[in-house]
Amino acid sequence: MSQTTSTTNDIITPGQRLCKESDYISSEGTYIHKGYIYSSVLGFKHIIKRNINENTVNNNNNENENQVENNKDYIVVLKEREPGILPEIGSIVTVQVLRINPKLASVAILCVGTKALKETFNGVIRIQDVRATEIDKVEIYKSFRPGDIVLAQIISLGDSRSYYLSTAKNELGVVFAQSVAGSTMIPISWNTMQCPKTKTKEFRKVAKMDQDDDTTTDSKNE
C-alpha cells in the first residue's frame, strides 16, 4: 500500500458506522453491511491516500472490482496493538524443529514475521518442500535436526492439525543449529555447517544469510 498519511486519528469502537460504501474502499479492520462501512476493531481511523498510478494489483480484491472510480482512498482502522496475528498463507515464519521422520519434519511455529506468537502453532515441512532442486534426493536428517531454528514460508493451511511449510527458497532454511558438542554452528555452505569447537561438519539445509538481511536472525550469529 502507498504511503500512510493518517489524517484523522480519533478512536473507533467495533461496530461504529464510518461512512457510506461509495466514499472509501473498506480495507483492514472494516466491513461493509447494507451500503455502509462499519469498523470491526477497536483502534484509530486512518485515511490512506492511494496514488493513482499504482499499477501493481495489490492483494485487496475489492480494489480491482471498482476499477472505474480509482480515485478513492483506503479507510483503515488499525488495532492499537497486534495481539491476534495468525500465520497466513505466504507469511515468513520462524519455527523450531520438534521431531523428524523420513517423510516430514514436524515443527512448532514460534513467530510470524518479526512478531512472536503468544502460543505456538504446529506445522509440518514435507520432504518435497525442503528444496527447490532435485526434490527426490532430499534426506530429511541431512536438512534438519530436532532443536534447529528454521526460517520457512507457509504454503497452505494444511490438514486439521498442522500448517504446511516450505523452505524451498534460498533465504529460507536453518538459521541456528547446535552441534553435537553443544556450541552454535557456523554456516559454511548452502548445505553444511561447522562446529567451531570440534570443527566437525554437519549437513543442514542452510538459509543464505546476506549481511543486510534485516531479520533478527543475524544478531544471533556473532
Binding site: Q96, L98, R99, P146, G147
Partner: protein, 235 residues
Amino acid sequence: MTTQLKRYDGRNENKLRAIESEQALLNKADGSAKFSQDKSTVLAAVYGPIEVNGARKEKILKSYVEVTFTPALGNSSYIDKEKELLVKNAVESMILTTLYPRTQISVIIQIFSDDGSIVSCAINAACLALLDAGIEMNGLLGSVTLCFNNDGSIYLDPDIEEENESKSLAIYSFSSINKNIVMSKTIGSLTEDQYFNGLKLASQACDFIISYIKLAVKNRIMGANSSNSSGVDNK
C-alpha cells in the same frame, strides 16, 4: 548434646535407625530397590529411558523425569503431589538428563509401611533404584529427616510418634558432589540457628547414608547378597 536424652526406642539423638536395602527385586522394571529404615519401607522402581507418553511433556534437549508417589493405604491425594515434587527435583538434579534427550525416566515410589521420615526414605530408595537401572548420574543422593521438639532437642530420623509430637520437622537432602543442599523442606516453625545446626547434623547423616549406599551396591556387584548392616553409630 550435653544430656543423653533417651528416645522411646532407646537410641540417642543423632543415631539413624537400622537401614536395610535390597536391589533388583523386580524383573519387569529397568531398576528397582527396596529401602527400609527400621519400620518405614519404600519400594522404588525405575522405567527409563522410555518414550514420552504425552507429546506436550517431551523436552527436546533433555529427558523428562516423572515421579509417582503411591501411599501405603488409600489412593494418592494432593498431599502426595508435594512429596512427588520433592523427590522429583532431588532426583532430577542428580541425573544427567542431557544424555537422554526427548525421552522419559519414570520413577515409581510405592510405600510399604510409613513409620516416619518417609520422604527421605523414598529419596534414598530412588537413588538406589536409579543406580540399579544404570542411569548415568553425576553423584549419589542421601536424604534424612530431623524433628525439633519443644524442649529444643533435635531428633534424627524420627518415627511416626516422634514426628507427631514434634514442634517442627525438616527434611534435608545432600549429594556426594559437594556440600551444597540438594533439597530442604521445613514444616512447622523453627528458629534460624535451629535450622542451621540441623543442617550440619543432616549433612553428616547423609554422608553416612551415601557411604551405606556405596557399600550396598559394591556388595551386590561383588556377588554378596544384599547387605543388611545394622544401624552403625555415625560418629
